[in-house]
Subunit: 583 residues, 2 copies
């Protein structure tokens, strides 16, 4: 439902005044970019960081606002087109990312800005990988980008909430399978192979993973605000020390004088990195997803800008984590069976709405062992609402479930042993032939992806099409990726692997131990939506050829030495020739 008429007008007016006030900006700017994330480039953010939602009214999880002196535009992707159309007021232009005629931010700015325009952005809120092309594209149209260290939205946001200070939870090896000390050790080995003397970690889920700690600073995401820097000799943890109770201190072994971890104030991270540049030899490993503010603490020639090794390690689940994810999904499946059997009885009475179904599901989930919270706001949607890909029912939109419409439920939980994410689409009456066909084609896509056998080094974007061909056959498609990584009691969306037409969603190849969602869908605007989602685990496939190669290797290893020992040279050569690896 639309927000109040012209709600954002007065805010934009204030913001535009600040854009030319030299007290707050290094120089007058003609455009201001408000990214979606926080200083950690989180996808889901704490209330204090919802700056883009505050200024634009659009509160989806992905989107960027750009405000010029006379216009305001918001870019978001296919999952959110309908939601953004509903939420943006008349001051805003919706830019549909991924559609052929949508300009990029740089192209649009090139058209809108006066000659030699300056575009401002908070360097903490933009990643290095987003900054570079933007800078380049603006330059090529005669404009430039300016880092504005004071956040202008914070200045116009009168009732901005304070940053959260929630307590931490320690995880034993029963849940993680490996101590934080051993993780640090593995990370240091990786750093050494890349000749890196320091690793800067700013992604909140990487920090939580690395130290076997969890938090609740961001709703649904069991993370806490912190930065970390690991050198070959030291570990710096930048965190508000109010968060460190006795148990956490014990877990991090902070009590002795020779503590391995130096706890430092959260806002000192830039300063410490700058000091380390002179003290540490080798490169500084900083993911291109880190903020420009942190990246620019290190001179370019010292920078090693590659995917964080913590992100890569975290993506490949160990046996304990895999076991935990399985266990969490079994508990989660129990809750879904409970919900659907309940709905089957209640829906015909007309007493269930989208919100009451979601509430019921949460009630049921809370009863499960080791349940911590939902892993995202349940998408409980019926009929046309299910065509809004990331719909979350509000009081205004809440609709009664009926036996005449399709019900789509995408839900998940954070359990101490794992994170779940499952979507089921159910018609509690008689679906039309068209609805049946769409459902069947989505299911065929889901199965095709779940069943695929692929070679080593395959990246997720090469598999995305498999989930779509059955829909393509009749001219249908869906405007979102097919799969995202899922954390083990961590964020429900995690990188660096993914299955999407967007190549950037698959930074590293798939490998055994990765867990991803498999969630093709089909959405008919104003009518209905279908999505079928399970999580899938990448496992080593036993193919006919791999069986043969393994058998041949075994022949070589078992019979080879014996042939050598008996001096049968020709026979040995015959064996080596006939047992060469194929494929």
């Amino acid at each position: 439902m639309p927000l109040a008429h012209n709600r954002t007008g007065p805010l934009l007016k204030k913001l535009r005044t600040l854009m030319s006030n030299r007290k707050y900006v290094p120089e007058s700017i003609q455009a201001y970019i408000v990214p979606s994330g926080d200083a950690h480039q989180s996808e889901y953010i704490a209330p204090c960081d919802c700056r883009r939602a505050f200024i634009s009214g659009f509160n989806g999880s992905a989107g960027t606002a750009v405000i010029t002196t006379d216009k305001a535009a918001l870019w978001t992707d296919g999952r959110y087109f309908l939601q953004a159309e509903k939420q943006l007021d008349e001051n805003w232009i919706l830019m549909k990312d991924g559609q052929p005629n949508t300009p990029t931010q740089a192209d649009w700015l090139a058209k809108e800005l006066p000659v030699g325009g300056k575009v401002g952005v908070d360097p903490c809120l933009i990643s290095a990988e987003a900054w570079s092309p933007l800078k380049k594209n603006l330059l090529s149209s005669g404009h430039s980008i300016i880092a504005v260290p004071i956040n202008l939205i914070d200045l116009v946001w009168e009732d901005q909430p304070p940053p959260p200070l929630n307590p931490l939870l320690t995880l034993t090896e029963k849940y993680t399978g490996i101590s934080w000390q051993d993780k640090i050790q593995k990370i240091r080995e990786k750093m050494q192979t890349k000749k890196c003397g320091a690793l800067v970690i700013s992604a909140l889920d990487e920090i939580a993973y690395l130290f076997n700690l969890r938090g609740s600073d961001i709703e649904y995401n069991p993370v806490f605000f912190a930065y970390a820097v690991v050198t070959l000799d030291n570990i710096f943890l930048f965190i508000d020390d109010q968060k460190l109770d006795a148990e956490v201190k014990h877990h991090l072994q902070l009590n002795g004088t020779d503590s391995a971890i130096q706890v430092t104030s959260y806002d000192k991270v830039g300063e410490v990195i700058k000091n380390l540049v002179d003290q540490v030899e080798g490169k500084f490993w900083i993911s291109p997803k880190c903020s420009v503010a942190l990246t620019q603490c290190v001179e370019k020639t010292r920078l090693f800008a590659q995917t964080s090794p913590v992100a890569v390690m975290k993506a490949v689940k160990n046996d304990t984590e895999i076991q935990g994810m399985r266990s969490a999904h079994i508990k989660d499946a129990v809750t879904l069976c409970e919900l659907f059997s309940w709905l089957e009885k209640q829906i015909p009475t007309g007493s269930v709405t989208e919100i009451s179904a979601a509430d019921k599901l949460e009630e049921i989930k809370v009863e499960q062992e080791d349940f911590i919270s939902l892993s995202f706001a349940t998408i409980s949607s019926t009929g046309p609402n299910a065509a809004i890909i990331h719909y979350k029912p509000t009081e205004e939109s809440d609709t009664v479930l009926s036996t005449d419409e399709i019900y789509l439920c995408d839900s998940g939980g954070q359990y101490k042993d794992g994170t779940t994410d499952v979507t089921r689409t159910i018609h509690f009456g008689s679906p039309s032939n068209h609805e049946k066909e769409c459902y069947t084609r989505v299911l065929k896509g889901h199965i095709a992806l779940a069943s695929i056998i692929f070679p080593n080094e395959t990246k997720g974007h090469m598999l995305d099409t498999l989930a779509r061909t059955s829909l393509w056959e009749v001219g249908l498609d869906y405007a979102h990726g097919t799969g995202h990584g899922v954390g083990a009691f961590l964020n429900v969306h995690e990188g660096p692997c993914g299955i999407s037409p967007r190549v950037s969603a698959a930074e590293i190849p798939l490998e055994a131990g990765m867990i991803l969602s498999d969630e093709p869908g089909y959405y008919e605007d104003g009518k209905f939506g279908v999505r079928i989602e399970n999580l899938v685990l990448v496992v080593k496939a036993e193919t006919k050829i791999s069986w043969l190669n393994e058998y041949h290797t075994q022949c070589r290893e078992v019979v080879g030495p014996e042939l050598k020992r008996q001096g049968k040279k020709e026979a040995y050569e015959w064996l080596m020739r006939e047992t060469q690896s194929i494929g």
Copy 2:
């Protein structure tokens, strides 16, 4: 077969002397890069441009040589691993592109160079898109890249052939479907939508296409050496005027005093571009595939670095070209039937070799109407030779065809009406079960790709996997892309569309009128090779949903106005609601 022992030793010694001689280099360099292409970034090149083959001995169509003060390394892709292993002498290290442990050129150089190393390259031979990341990566390891305008290979190449000066062929609209004047008009319209005042064209096939001219300066590729610059008012053609006979002059309308085309000397292109920068308003459209030498004639803020509009126009064949391509393939099919029926009789007698089969095929092809030349050296390969992906039989390797082995024949012709490229794999005796299975799985991949229905805006890399899944199922794969664009009586490999796991091979989405190869394969080193290749034309698919949407549009257009005319407002709204586009 290996080349002479240490053939390249003396050449490398001379080259290394030049690398520190300030008479030839702006400053002393510790490494020299020898790219594969010519000043037009051609894949196939004239003998005078085979610098990388001259210095390294490896004469495949793709590869880059890098020579440091004490090492020499050659990077090439999966098609050429075996060939390069055979051709490189002991001075060279083979770097297998695309394999997980192969360093990039920049990574390798970072390891090999002394502190603050300088890497030289001829700026005419490296594209802007290759230069930028190389520069950045070298910079990040403390090294730098230097443009060396004098080509150092030319200095050590004593018997380098002169550039070719072959006559041109004019093509009428019977073959092209559109005059060069109308092509220029369309290109200028495209330039205006992008606010470009000038377009620099350096790719030889784009120049041949744009002017409806063909040449024979490069074997198998009907192109000629030239550059072109199109502004909104002028057309500059940079070409040796010995190539312009009376017919060509008439075709280009060069005879009047108000000629639309200014013919200028080939080597003046850089100078003219530099002068135009002050005379022309708007941006300079220069493809990122153009050389650094040309790109750097224009300051960055004036540059519009996007895929050439000529390349895009050329990729989408018009009806005349499609008709011509069909006709050429029918003639080509005749020649293959003739060859295979002849082989069936001759092979059992043991009288046919790879070379004699290829020669026979050429003899047959020459008889066809409008045949100009082969479109590439016929890959005529039997048994283990067929596992060498781009094998061309030499006198040393030539093998007798037999009924015991698989024969793979990849051939094509340049006909005045079109270019062909077809691969057939045949066993003239009884293949093994394993060979049959591999062949069948390759065929299934070929059919899967040829049959796929996909949405608008799909890029080729999203389809590549479809040709592989049947092989993946048993643990097999092939180390090359599945499809390349094919010119209409132009280069057998053309961009900017392609079907490959390499995202860069698909610069623009597939659209109706594009012609691509569909050529999955399977290669078992030392045993056999299978490839099945046809060309496929992208056509508009008639899906159930598109049929329904078109029918609904028709209802709206036919019945809608009549309802309005009769003042039946509610019925009109009902019609509009019920005939909304779906999918």
